[in-house]
Subunit: 304 residues, 2 copies
């Protein structure tokens, strides 16, 4: 694995994160980008370690993602899950068959003692992904949400309960004992700009920042938080509602408050340009893969 510093480091979660990393990689070249990916959503399903955010970024960059669904692999089947379900295995978290092929290879590496960061690097190389992909940590960090139904782990809240439970608090279990994965502090230190991808700050970006050493590494950097809200709405997912119940305005001003003292710049979509004086402005809607190169170029230009 190259240890050349790369100009862009991106802290990110899954869907919005993967699209932004793809946009930046298309605009600036994949060798210019390091993605530092949230592991707070990681979960064990059918005995397999699953890293949903890492997988979404990996599949997106490898051209395997089911872009329609926004997760998993294209043209996927679910035959393994179906029989496992008949045999008492859990089916609430959908693992496709191809997906399981990757999980089997990775789970074996992890059981053999290969750190997640090294496993990720090997898989990315085999899938010819030139963006450098790093988990935030090789140690377990797990996001838990306080709700009226009690404290729920991320996947129970998000997938099993379809984020129906109101969130009044967030906790990153294990974070205080975790360390950044090898290469993470160096990727931040060597970057010209560190982006926060347009991911959910509470369940994608904050669990990365909660790993001791990462927030400190950002202290002297230019940190540009790309807004996951456009006109007060998340492109997808429960962010607007979470911001309200966690005490923030569900718009770019609220986002600026969330990242106050951490980000040096907020980058917003032109529709929100008037709402936040001093914000960087560039179009940031990039659902369609073919729009991403242009979004990436616009973001790089907006840096000035």
């Amino acid at each position: 694995m190259s240890i050349q510093p790369r100009p862009y480091a991106v802290l990110c979660g899954g869907l919005g994160g993967s699209r932004f990393v793809d946009a930046l990689a298309q605009a600036a070249g994949p060798e210019q980008v390091t993605a530092i990916v949230n592991v707070g959503d990681d979960v064990e399903i059918l005995g397999l370690h699953v890293s949903p955010d890492l997988d979404t970024v990996l599949y997106t960059l490898a051209g395997l993602l089911d872009e329609e669904r926004g997760w998993g692999i294209r043209d996927e089947t679910t035959n393994a899950l179906e029989l496992a379900g008949r045999l008492g295995g859990e089916t609430w978290f959908t693992l496709g068959d191809r997906d399981i092929g990757l999980h089997l290879v990775r789970a074996r590496m992890l059981r053999e003692g290969v750190p997640l960061s090294e496993a990720t690097g090997r898989l990315a190389e085999l899938l010819e992904v030139a963006v450098r992909l790093l988990p935030a940590s090789d140690d377990p960090v797990r996001t838990f949400l306080t709700t009226p139904a009690g404290e729920l782990d991320f996947q129970t809240w998000f997938v099993r309960n379809r984020y129906a439970d109101e969130v009044t608090g967030v906790r990153y279990d294990g974070a205080e004992r975790a360390g950044p994965a090898p290469g993470v502090p160096e990727a931040i230190a060597g970057a010209e700009v560190v982006f926060f991808a347009p991911s959910n700050p509470f369940v994608s970006i904050h669990p990365i920042l909660a790993v001791p050493g990462i927030r400190e590494a950002l202290a002297e950097k230019r940190v540009v938080a790309v807004s996951p809200l456009v006109a007060g709405q998340a492109v997808r997912g429960p962010l607007a509602g979470m911001m309200a119940t966690l005490g923030f305005e569900p718009d770019v001003r609220g986002l600026a408050a969330v990242y106050d003292g951490i980000a040096t710049d907020i980058l917003v979509d032109p529709v929100d340009a008037g709402k936040l004086p001093g914000a960087l402005v560039a179009p940031i809607v990039m659902v369609a893969p073919e729009s991403r190169a242009e979004v990436g170029r616009g973001v790089v230009e907006a840096l000035g």
Copy 2:
């Protein structure tokens, strides 16, 4: 799990074994049969414990087997294996997607400390299989073959090298330290008749007999060995060639020599009736599932 003694106990391997157990279950009722299955072929593939003989018997009795191929599940896909292969996982041993569904559930039970016999019982119950299925042992017993290419583990010899290497010796690694799985001695002791299924004696039946306690349990019993050879040929597989290189006539006389002092009766197909005076005789070709009930009835009648 019921501990009622059952009149028939069958020591068996995969394909021929599963068909014979199915035949006997169809003729006498599944609740009358205990199958004691070889584990010498067990192998770890993509980090999953695979028990090919147990799986073939289970799939056959559950009506899931791909009867055309003689292994695996009907209407199977191999998408997991394909992506695992792209990521450096081994692909020489075909695991179908549905198959992997079962392996995931079982591998997790085993990692949690559930013995193979208990895992097998749970899976059989969930698949509504009323034959009692027992692995010969919960301990690792692995068949190795001496060949001019060196000593090879069973699956390397059989699947990877397609049994091209001449076999001059067989060894059951771990057998001396193994014990019979819970229920095996009782199933033998309680049976009116113990069958050796028409499986390969060297790689299916002997690895069961090599487990201390099992051969001893047979000493006072009526033991009927069903010939895996019909007119000097195995219905499938490399048995005839192995018998020759291991110093036995490749026919029912050779089989009688292999089981001398262990089996009390040899049961042969009518085409071989003249070759072995004193043998029990019944039709034993049962490739087609619809022929099995009749084969089973003929075998039970031939017991006299």
